[in-house]
Subunit: 392 residues, 2 copies
Amino acid sequence: MENFNFYSPTEFVFGKGCAVEAGRLVKKYGGTKVLIHYGGGSAVKSGLIDKVKKSLADAGVPYCELGGVQPNPRDTLIYKGIELGRSEGVDIVLAVGGGSVIDSAKGIALGIPYDGDFWDFYSGKTPEKALPVGTVLTIAAAGSEGSGNSIVTKEDGLLKRGARNDILRPKFSIMDPALTQTLPAYQTAAGCTDIMAHIFERYFTNTPEVEITDRLCEAVLLTMIKEAPRVIADPDNYEARANIMWAGMIAHNNICGVGRQQDWNSHNLEHELSALYDVTHGAGLAVMMPAWMEYVYKHNVLRFCQMATRVFGCQMDYENPEATAVEGIRRFRSFLHSIGMPINFAELGAKEEDIPVLVEKLGIGSGKRAGFMELDRNDVTEIYRIAAHASL
Amino acid sequence: MENFNFYSPTEFVFGKGCAVEAGRLVKKYGGTKVLIHYGGGSAVKSGLIDKVKKSLADAGVPYCELGGVQPNPRDTLIYKGIELGRSEGVDIVLAVGGGSVIDSAKGIALGIPYDGDFWDFYSGKTPEKALPVGTVLTIAAAGSEGSGNSIVTKEDGLLKRGARNDILRPKFSIMDPALTQTLPAYQTAAGCTDIMAHIFERYFTNTPEVEITDRLCEAVLLTMIKEAPRVIADPDNYEARANIMWAGMIAHNNICGVGRQQDWNSHNLEHELSALYDVTHGAGLAVMMPAWMEYVYKHNVLRFCQMATRVFGCQMDYENPEATAVEGIRRFRSFLHSIGMPINFAELGAKEEDIPVLVEKLGIGSGKRAGFMELDRNDVTEIYRIAAHASL
């Protein structure tokens, strides 16, 4: 196990009906003027935004608002939010939505107290200050409600880039699983895929002797394998939604990833897909993650056997471990397909002829991408090719 | 799943050599005058206390000190600590030791800013204020480094009672697994038992549909089953020590227990044992926990089958589930025995004829103790009897 720091100071308020706590929590964390940040129409139509506003009004906290966050949130709206927040004297940002809204809110929270361009923090600069962020979560997927991460797309050039720092962890997150019951099946399944991918990016490591985090990773995966099909079959299943929502937070606040080298290449490969085609992140991962696995599993066959046996219930083939590893990957792809996810470029809406563009945008140059297995241009080209042609 | 709040704002600094961070962290969390609190000679003899003092001096933070914390920490020393802390103008308490030292430090941190008797908070009063507490952990067991709990024994009458509140969560905890390598085997095994017990108290619940926390609980247990025998066989095994130390924190910061009814009867039954005989808490649990299981398993046979199959690798006997449940409990007791723990009163140093005294001290009266299965006086008497006579 490697040395590590772990700091997850977010207060989680979880359960049915807890959105009414927004006002109390904003006040508790020192907010005196709120920017309510949200996405498209659903949070408004469902009455959630009104409920949040009422809660703020009841607590005597004034607010302004900015809607319109798109999936794969854009820098352009963040600039607007920074301007609005400054002119209104905002001192806390309340994200009402899913990962895109929360990530956009984090960008605004970074930008308001900063003299330069907030994009600096998405280009490698370490942030030192940010306004507090609170969230009312409506999708179980990105884990941004508990993480110190934010991913934003630069409109000009469609660059998707991330910032990461503990000061970006929300002060509080309100998590009502019932709010996710109205999500379309495709979005639900994409969220479940994202959660599983957050685990796999941590699970495939070269760090030995990490049993506790291995087992925690497997706990989340086993939960998803039970619960995801249940919500696809019955979107109103509150209990399954609740288990998935909490799993989504645990998958990405890094409790499952401390003390070990991680691998975020599948996410990086996917980011170029969703930047180019604006596809749902989780759907892109459903295509890229098994393809990445097929390309890298020989780097450590027994680790893939561990996944296959502990998570996907395979019998270990001691005479032919590779067969077990491959069967585990096959079961993962088949599972994703069973919950309605695409498994190749055609189903996703991506084009094989764009692979050189995707590779170029990754910006590897003549170097290598670090991770479980180091990847150069040829490697990632091959992984995209596997993704293009994958079948059950 | 039940509604819940989860708030674990402790900063964990984990790994080899990290005790030198004490000064930096005390300063970060606003400490200007430190009370260093520790136990017997081992932290002094090993040079750890000197290392911590040097780190504080390097950071320019003055300190005073109070050693002498016993296992099952006493109220009497806490009164001394409160007096010393006040006269020295202490504004942060730094516990250097295991759960007893940390729990004692939490008592002092509650008492210094409080006008009344700190014991009020161990008699049901809700605390509103406490000095910040930091820890340098030397034993993986109690989980107090990440929890909002503190258990203290009142010298007069040997009453062992607890306080619980999020304000008791340490601001930071320094966790160097290498510091646990010098622990005697018995203390190591008792710590491992305590960690497993913290999980079981959460695992046996009447709340349905808690797959994610069930799986997280099982993750910790599976880790302990792998790692505990390794450190007993080889005390210097840093990697196994590291996995156990992180598992110990996760077992009790409540990430494995949210959203579900919990059962702390085994702990309560044990507290009377360690109050009366001053036995090591974990050793007492090794005797009481399997005895409790044997008495209550019929309340939900299939939940015990889940433990038996998922954790202890039993084959499910579908024609006779009870046989599987009983086999799981048998394997648990046998595991504890294999790492050197006592399994009955005689091995622990407790006496069957004291059972009426133990029952009396529990203070159940004519009522019932809530939990997985409600327990009245007759029930707990029977559980103590099972514990008295247990064998492999």
